[in-house]
């Protein structure tokens, strides 16, 4: 009954994205894709979120924000990197002001490549993240937390 994957609340953060992936993320909420049918709510609050969905590579300005958002989320939690910039840094990888993908700062569970990532693949990535979420919850229970 209280499986966390039945009601995953999602927090979306734009680390340095060009807004291409962000628009595709918002597309998932529209009638055509409707991610609310999985019980997913796009919440604006890290305290209440289970999935941290990040677009864009990390730079020195957003590094602290990403770390803080991640630390404010209660366990169990998963991180989904959406778009090739969030996965590896993409075309900006070698830039002097880019640190690289999200995994240079916080652990990433699911990578969704693409430029921009399509809504279908974002939904696919989030649904895969749900499985990871359940595993993490089970591991938490085992530890007796």
């Amino acid at each position: 009954m209280n499986k966390v994957s039945k009601s995953p609340w999602l927090l979306h953060y734009d680390a340095s994205s060009c807004n291409g992936c962000d628009i595709e993320v918002l597309d998932c909420l529209t009638p055509k894709y409707d991610i609310e049918r999985f019980g997913i709510i796009n919440t604006g609050d890290p305290f209440q979120a289970d999935i941290l969905l990040i677009t864009g590579g990390v730079n020195s300005q957003t590094e602290s924000v990403v770390k803080q958002l991640y630390s404010q989320m209660p366990d169990p939690k998963v991180v989904v990197a959406v778009g090739i910039c969030a996965c590896t840094g993409g075309v900006f990888k070698e830039c002097y002001n880019i640190k690289g993908g999200i995994d240079t700062v916080i652990p990433v569970d699911v990578y969704v490549p693409g430029c921009a990532a399509r809504p279908e693949s974002i939904i696919d990535g989030v649904v895969r993240a749900l499985k990871v979420l359940d595993e993490k919850q089970a591991a938490m229970k085992k530890d007796g937390r």
Binding site: N2, E36, R37, G39
Partner: protein
């Protein structure tokens, strides 16, 4: 014996019925937007998840204040369902809301504090009409006792249609519906998402949600009183009308955009003055 059964039924069933209504509301909203929407049991899944999450408390007092919000709402609802004084029920209802405001302002987040001040503003908007409703019931039935309303051979709504309209208008605030959802808007594209719950998570948030379900049933109970009288079929009519009112609140939620706080205050007070005030005036002259 009867009041005891009613109170027990309220205390046990209200969160379940409230969560079911919330599930229905979310599906109906989704269908209005041509979406499929979540499953009917989604609010139960949400509550189950919130209770299972790791406990993050920003301070020691917030959980206690949220629990007070829940318990005082339960007391207010129990009094209504026990057939006690309607005026007292409404006063206790406002007291409960004060605890929510205190819970939100107990932490340092500017978003939570803004949410709390907006919640107070919303109280200012709906409180006058809520009191007029109690006065209207007194003028119509000659008593503040809820149990007395049920024994009259006419429905209160015949004498107080203006107050019913006003109450429907202002309960959009209490039901957390747009255009008046200044402190608790769900929508991610608005500037302050659920301000009042910003620092609440896991168990604390779940307790607040359960309290909201108790409040929802309490409000529907007051709507029920508008239509019920001594005949048995009036109970069925009242149930149907309550369902209809709930549907209309959902519809209004979906067809209106959020207003600014000044519009909220002015529109609620104008409706209170025109619909409520004129209704009370006529009641005082005729009855």
């Amino acid at each position: 014996m009867k009041p005891v059964i009613f109170v027990l039924a309220y205390l046990i069933l209200a969160p379940f019925v409230g969560a079911l209504l919330d599930g229905i509301d979310r599906i109906v909203s989704a269908r209005m937007q041509r979406r499929k929407g979540p499953s009917l049991m989604q609010p139960f899944y949400d509550l189950g998840k919130l209770f299972s999450k790791e406990m993050i408390a920003v301070n020691n007092v917030q959980l206690l204040l949220n629990l007070s919000y829940l318990v005082i709402l339960m007391i207010a609802g129990s009094m209504l369902f026990a057939g006690a004084d309607l005026l007292m029920v409404l006063f206790i209802l406002s007291t409960a809301d004060m605890f929510l405001i205190m819970a939100a302002s107990s932490d340092s987040s500017p978003f939570a504090n803004m949410g709390a001040s907006r919640e107070m503003l919303q109280m200012m908007a709906y409180e006058p009409l809520t009191l007029l409703v109690a006065v209207g019931f007194y003028l119509t039935t000659g008593s503040f006792q809820v149990s007395d309303f049920l024994t009259r051979d006419y429905s209160a709504v015949i004498w107080m249609p203006g107050l019913l309209f006003g109450f429907m208008f202002t309960t959009a605030i209490k039901f957390r519906k747009s255009p008046f959802d200044l402190s608790t808007s769900h929508h991610a594209h608005q500037e302050m998402v659920k301000g009042i719950t910003t620092e609440m998570s896991g168990t604390t948030l779940a307790i607040m949600n359960i309290a909201e379900y108790y409040e929802m049933i309490l409000l529907l109970g007051i709507f029920f009183l508008f239509f019920v009288n001594s005949t048995w079929w009036s109970w069925i009519v009242a149930f149907v009308v309550c369902a209809l009112i709930f549907f209309m609140e959902t519809l209004w939620d979906n067809v209106s955009a959020r207003v600014k706080w000044k519009t909220l205050l002015y529109s609620c007070w104008v409706v209170t003055l025109v619909a409520g005030g004129v209704n009370i005036l006529i009641l005082m002259l005729i009855k």
